[in-house]
Amino acid sequence: MMRALFRQLFCAITVLASVGLAAQQTEVVLSSTSGAKLVLAVPPPVLSGVDQATADAQFTAVLQRDLDESGVFGLLKDKLPTATDPSSYGAWKDAGAQWLLLCKLTRTASGDCQLDASAIDTAAGKAVFTKPYKADRRVPIRRLAHALSDDLVLQLTGVRGVASSRIVFVRQLHPGVKEVFQVDRDGANVLQLTHNDSLTLAPSVAQDGRLAFVTYKAGAPEIWGQRTRDGAQVRLYAAPGGALVSSPAWSPDGKRLAFVQGDRRGNTDIMVMDLATGRVHRLTDGGGINTEPTWNPDGTQIAFTSDREGGPQVFLMQSDGSNVRRLTSEGTYNASPAWSPSGAMIAYVSRFEGRFDLFIYKLGEGKSYQITNGVNTSESPSWSPDERRLVFTSDRLGTMQLFTTDLAGLQVVRLSDLTNCQSPVWTRAR
C-alpha cells in the first residue's frame, strides 16, 4: 500500500520534473536565438490611466513575446539603462540596443486607449518609426501590442509580422466529437467555430477568411463551409452514395476547392470543384491513395500525398492534373505537404525510426531539411503567413497540442495549453 503510494508520488514528481525540464529547455533556446537579429530594447511603457499590473500582463508581456517570436528581433533584457530621454540613447547603444522602443499607454476618461510608440535608432539617435494607435474601450490592450509588433516587423523587413494572425484547428471535445476552433497566434481568445456535435475535421481557410471543413454530422462525411465572408456554414459538397470526402483546400483565388474523394474500390483521388458552377472534376486517376492537396501560391500547381509507388510520398502536379512528379525521395513515409506562401518551400512530415518529424523541401535547391528532431511526434505543419515559422501538433508534453517553430527548429514554443488538437491552419484572414 505504502509502496504503491510512493511509486505514484514518484511518478507524479517525475512527470512534473520532465514538464519543467521541457519548459526550461524552451527558455534556454529562446535566449539563444537572439544572436543574428536586430537587437531591440523595450523599456517599461509610460502609463497614464492604466495600472501597472494590467500594462505588464496585457501589453508588455504580450509585446515581448510577439517580438521574440517574430524571428527578426532579439530582445535586450539585461543591464538596461533607466533613462529614456535623447541624452540616454548613447547608453542604450552601449548596452547593445540597436533600436530603443518607447511606448506611452494612455486610458482616456471615456475608456478608450491610446498607444504612442516610437523606435529610436540608437546609433543615429533619431526615430525610425513613430505611430499612434487608438483603440475603442472594447478592444483588449493586447491587440495594440500585436499591431505594434507587426508594424515593427514591417518597418524592418518590408513584410508585416504575424502577431495579429490566428490559428484555425480541430479539437476533440468528447470521443467521436471534434469541432473547429480558432485561437490568437499567442494562444489567447479561443473561439469555437463549428457546433456540429459530430466528427468535424480538416479545416481550410480562404484568403478572405471563408472556412471549409469536413463534417460527419449527416452520417457520411460531407464538405461544409462558407460561400461568403460572414455567411452561414452550408453544405458545399457531398459525394454520390456517401463516398469518402476529406482534405478540402481553398485555391489561392478562393474560387475553387480541391478535396479528396473515395471511389469505393479502395482508391482516393484529388478532385477540384468550381464554387460558382458546382462542377467537379477529378485530377488523379484512381491509382491508390491520393490525398492532402495543397496549392502553390498562384494556383497553378498542387502538391499531394500518394502511395502510388508503395508507401506514402509527396508528389507535385499541375492544377489540371497533368505532369505528376514525385518530390520526396528519402524515407518510407512522407506526407502532409504544405506549400509555403512564397512558393519556394514545401513543409511535410517524415517518419524516421518510428516517429514523425517536420521537414522542409526547398524547391530551388531540390533538397530537404529536417526541422524538428525526434521529440515524440510532430505532425500537420502549416506555414505562418510571413513564412518565418510553422505551426504543428506534437505530443511532446503528453497529448497532442499546438506548437510553433522557427525554420531552424531551434525556437519551439507551445502555442496554448489546449489538449487533443489537430490539423492547425495559420491565417491572417480571421
Binding site: A220, P221, S246, R264, T305, P312, S336, D395
Partner: protein
C-alpha cells in the same frame, strides 16, 4: 292544439250515439281489449328479451373475437420479438471486427472465417444491411489515415461481394484515426485500432 283535442271527443260521441240506436250486438267473439293489450305487452317484452339476448350474444362473440385477435397479435409480436432477438443475436455473433497490418489493407488469412460468417449471416437474414467502418492506428497523418481506413472498408466490402453479398446491402465509411478503441501509444493498442467494424444499418 285546441282543435285536435275537440275532434277525438266529437268522434267518440258520434260512435256512442250509433251504438245506442242499434240493437244490442251479440257478445263479441274476438279477444277483449285487455287481452289485446296483454298480448301486445307480451310481444313487446318477448321482442325486447330477444333483442337483449341477441345483443348479449353479439357482445359475447365480439369479446371472444377480440380476445382471439389479441392472442394472435400477442403471439405474432412474441414471434417477431423472438425473430428480432435471433436476428440481433446472430448479428452480434457474426459482426466481429477484422484487423490489419500497419499501413496495409489486405484481408488477413485469419479473418477470412469472420468474413465468411458475415456473408452467411447476410444470406440467412435478407433484411440485414451493414455499414463497414474502416479505422487506423494513430501513426500517420489524419488525412492519409482517412484514405487508408476507406481502403480497409472497401477491401472488406469487395471480399464480402466475392462471397455473394450484394453490394447494395453494404455501405462503407472511414473514420481514419479519429475513433480509436484504445488510446495508449503501443503496438498492443495500435493493433486493436487497425480494424474494420461491421454495424447493422
Amino acid at each position: 292544439m285546441r282543435t285536435s283535442r275537440i275532434i277525438p271527443i266529437a268522434t267518440l260521441a258520434l260512435l256512442m250515439g250509433t251504438v245506442a240506436c242499434k240493437k244490442p250486438a251479440p257478445a263479441p267473439t274476438g279477444p277483449s281489449q285487455a287481452e289485446i293489450d296483454a298480448a301486445n305487452a307480451k310481444k313487446a317484452a318477448d321482442e325486447a328479451a330477444a333483442q337483449k339476448a341477441a345483443a348479449e350474444e353479439a357482445a359475447r362473440k365480439a369479446a371472444a373475437e377480440e380476445a382471439a385477435r389479441k392472442a394472435a397479435a400477442e403471439e405474432a409480436a412474441q414471434k417477431a420479438a423472438a425473430e428480432e432477438a435471433a436476428f440481433k443475436a446472430a448479428a452480434e455473433k457474426a459482426l466481429v471486427n477484422i484487423h490489419f497490418d500497419y499501413d496495409k489493407s489486405d484481408i488477413k488469412e485469419g479473418d477470412r472465417a469472420i468474413l465468411q460468417g458475415i456473408a452467411d449471416f447476410m444470406k440467412q437474414y435478407s433484411q440485414a444491411r451493414i455499414e463497414i467502418q474502416g479505422n487506423c492506428d494513430e501513426r500517420g497523418t489524419n488525412e492519409y489515415n482517412l484514405a487508408l481506413g476507406n481502403r480497409r472498408a472497401d477491401a472488406a466490402q469487395a471480399y464480402l461481394k466475392t462471397l455473394g453479398v450484394a453490394e447494395s446491402r453494404m455501405s462503407t465509411i472511414s473514420f481514419g484515426k479519429e475513433k480509436p478503441l484504445c488510446t495508449e501509444h503501443k503496438e498492443s493498442c495500435w493493433s486493436q485500432n487497425r480494424r474494420d467494424e461491421f454495424h447493422l444499418k
